[in-house]
Symmetry: C2
Subunit: 455 residues, 2 copies
């Protein structure tokens, strides 16, 4: 079967793995299963070229720890070999004084690239870009450009996107693809083989999510990173963008589930760290939900008089929560994909109000039917005023589902406006808000409908 | 500012857009804002080459509708120009008899590619692969291969990955990258310039999510698709994989939010469709949550005697729900990323049991403290047996949070084992299960602790 063939190629058994020739990703997977000391021993036996290939792989977990234990000269020469963005990451994971000692031994080019890249915050394009980009003056010929590419190929992250610079100012004029270059007339100027529209570029401070959107929209393999004077400072490649997209999705799902993003695989994170990441949010939500107890205390008189009302509290709360979480997940995702922008909040409100009402009417009708049916079928006796109770539950559901949809759709906008990540905490915030307000809505409706009878 | 520069390039105002030379994605965005008739008019004025470029873009929404209105000869020649996977998609969106008429006019090559691709189900690699792949016999020289690439470049989706076939059997032997080819000795055999390890390949029936995992693991730009005899049937490129990843994440978030995946942008889906996708799940959950009313009815006697217990029902339910949704989001994501496999369920259970207990103890202590504090500070009177009530709530929280974590982490495994998508419905299922069971746990603990006093 092909599937088993594939697995054989992909996750080969550790014993049979040829460390010099197997896929880098497979060897890294193998090394990740060993402790850092053993992995360092394996690495020492490989050629420098191969060691560099392995260290260059972002999934190699103990890479920084291993490099830090090497003699500084050897460490510096390995770091000079890996891509500049990876070297920056590895150095940032090391402890002092080892880090400074290795930096002091780096060649000038690597050191300046690393100090440049270390400036950009996590989540920005600068943090995943590399400085190893192919650029040539725009007045070169295609043949000269191809010759140059052949010469520098080994040290460049990608050669499929070539940056063409203004011969005097050095500003980025255009990008060309290798695809166009190899089919173009070798004697033609390289600018003629380039795209004819304005090149897609990003700045190093741009959010990685925004950059990912450009990659998906324009089907790009790489995007040049430029500064405010349009000078080239690096390039972002599609593999790093995919990693950013996957990481971002994981964070969103976890935040949406009401916790801090783990930032580590589930099976590998330590017990203490995991409790820490989960307990914080759970406790915060618990404090928020304590307001439900306060609200209930406030209505204790009504509860005493009409104990039948309590029977439907869980049903009503969960319906509000479910409709809120639907609306939140829709809007968080639409915001993340750029389908909806901050200024569209009122358009969304105009969609969610009728949606919430419609959904509320559906659930309200179901709730009312449930109570009437149980009463008429003799399954439960809701008392003399059973129809008024059914009406209270039905109207309560309309109100709470509408409120849930509105709150759930508007809160991501509020969080985004306040410069919080809309994914983070939207769902739990909505749950708390909807639970507390839901109780107030329910008892308010009850006090109107049941006034003079039960209450 | 660069940001505004970027936007100027990306989302230029419709008026100034040069339809022949602007970025395809921008022109498509512009056409999507018009109705199909106007867009067809614009398309008719462009060169055939440009029209093909635009139709080839997957985001062009009315493309199928527009092509279907064209004279069949023109439609067939445009479809022959776009990539085979796109042509297949466009034809699948058309109505009969127009579809059959256009298919009858397609050239032989396009028709056989289309009929081939139409066989694969949505979500499979076959549905996003294209047949326009560069392949050469493995005994060719590098120079001959490059010459061939230059000739066929225009009609191929990617030329950065070249498939090398067994000269006699035609089976896939290796893949080579253009990068290696242009730096290799032109007289050398192309096989020498290829990778030396087993090529990463996929089968057309493989899940797109699995394929995406290979792309991220091995940092690939394209992967050959082969049949059971290792014959090449197509190629999947990274841009289609990114689209699949983004779409998959959207579906996961929406399903996690307790609804069917919209499959359309939030602002574009019709009101009726949106209600349909949301109401189904909300109603199903509502029916599940009706069990909470049944559970409450079952404990009505206890409620009558100890109304104070009702005050903490919302707090207890929401804590169970929150801990369940944390655990679910962690496991869904770990399953989606392949960090955890089906057979690891017991490892997860062994982590979640102590995690749930620890989190439960934290919340239980907080709940107990809250009641004791309110009582002692005189903020509320929980009756003569207030400490026993506090103890009931505290113990109830330990039980419910533990149960929530266990249920939340195990349910995705159960769903996956039953061949359902674990993302779908996990969170809402967990909520319903935890809500109903939570009430039972709470009242059972109450009947033990409060026996002889309140109950």
């Amino acid at each position: 079967m092909e599937d088993s063939d594939l697995r054989e190629g992909a996750g080969a058994p550790a014993v049979a793995l040829d460390l010099e020739h197997a896929h880098v990703a497979d060897v890294v997977e193998h090394l990740n299963e060993q402790d850092a000391g053993d992995a360092a021993g394996v690495l020492a036996k490989l050629t420098e070229e191969r060691a560099v290939e392995l260290l260059d792989h972002p999934e190699f977990e103990d890479a920084a720890e291993i490099v830090a234990t090497l003699p500084v000269d050897r460490a510096a020469s390995l770091l000079a070999g890996v891509s500049a963005d990876r070297a920056t990451d590895l150095l940032s994971e090391m402890e002092e004084p080892q880090r400074s000692r290795i930096i002091a031994k780096l060649d000038h080019e690597t050191r300046s690239a690393v100090s440049h890249l270390a400036r950009y915050p996590e989540g920005s394009v600068g943090a995943i870009m590399t400085t190893e980009v192919v650029s040539v003056p725009a007045n070169w010929t295609v043949a000269a450009t191809l010759d140059y590419i052949r010469k520098v190929e080994k040290s460049r992250e990608t050669i499929y996107t070539i940056c063409l610079l203004h011969p005097e100012t050095g500003a980025l004029l255009q990008t060309a693809t290798l695809r166009r270059l190899i089919t173009a007339d070798p004697a033609a100027p390289v600018l003629a083989a380039a795209r004819h529209n304005r090149p897609i570029t990003v700045t190093p401070t741009l959010d990685q999510e925004e950059a990912a959107r450009l990659f998906t929209k324009y089907d790009l393999l790489a995007v040049p990173v430029i500064d405010e004077r349009r000078h080239l400072i690096g390039i972002v490649t599609v593999d790093d963008i995919i990693d950013a997209i996957v990481e971002e999705s994981t964070e969103d799902v976890q935040k949406f589930g009401g916790m801090e993003a783990l930032d580590e695989p589930y099976m590998e994170i330590s017990f203490g760290k995991m409790i820490h990441k989960r307990a914080g949010w759970l406790a915060a939500l618990f404090i928020g939900e304590m307001l439900t107890a306060t609200a209930m205390q406030h209505f204790e008189d009504e509860l005493q008089k009409a104990i039948v009302l309590t029977l439907f509290i869980p049903l009503i709360m969960s319906s509000g929560g479910n409709s809120g979480s639907q609306a939140t997940s829709l809007i968080i995702r639409a915001l993340a994909l750029g389908e909806v922008r901050l200024r569209d909040w009122w358009r969304v409100a105009l969609r969610e109000l009728p949606s919430g009402l419609t959904l509320g009417l559906i659930l309200g009708a179901m709730g009312l039917t449930r109570i009437v049916a149980w009463q008429l079928l003799g399954l439960h006796d809701y008392g003399a005023h059973w129809f008024l109770v059914a009406l209270t539950v039905g109207c309560g559901l309309v109100g709470i589902v509408t409120f849930g949809s509105m709150t759930g759709s508007m809160l991501p906008f509020v969080l985004k406006r306040l410069n919080f990540d809309p994914a983070s905490a939207s769902a739990p915030f909505v749950a708390t808000l909807v639970d507390v307000t839901g109780l107030v809505i329910y008892f308010s409706i009850a006090s109107v409908i049941l006034a003079g009878t039960l209450l």
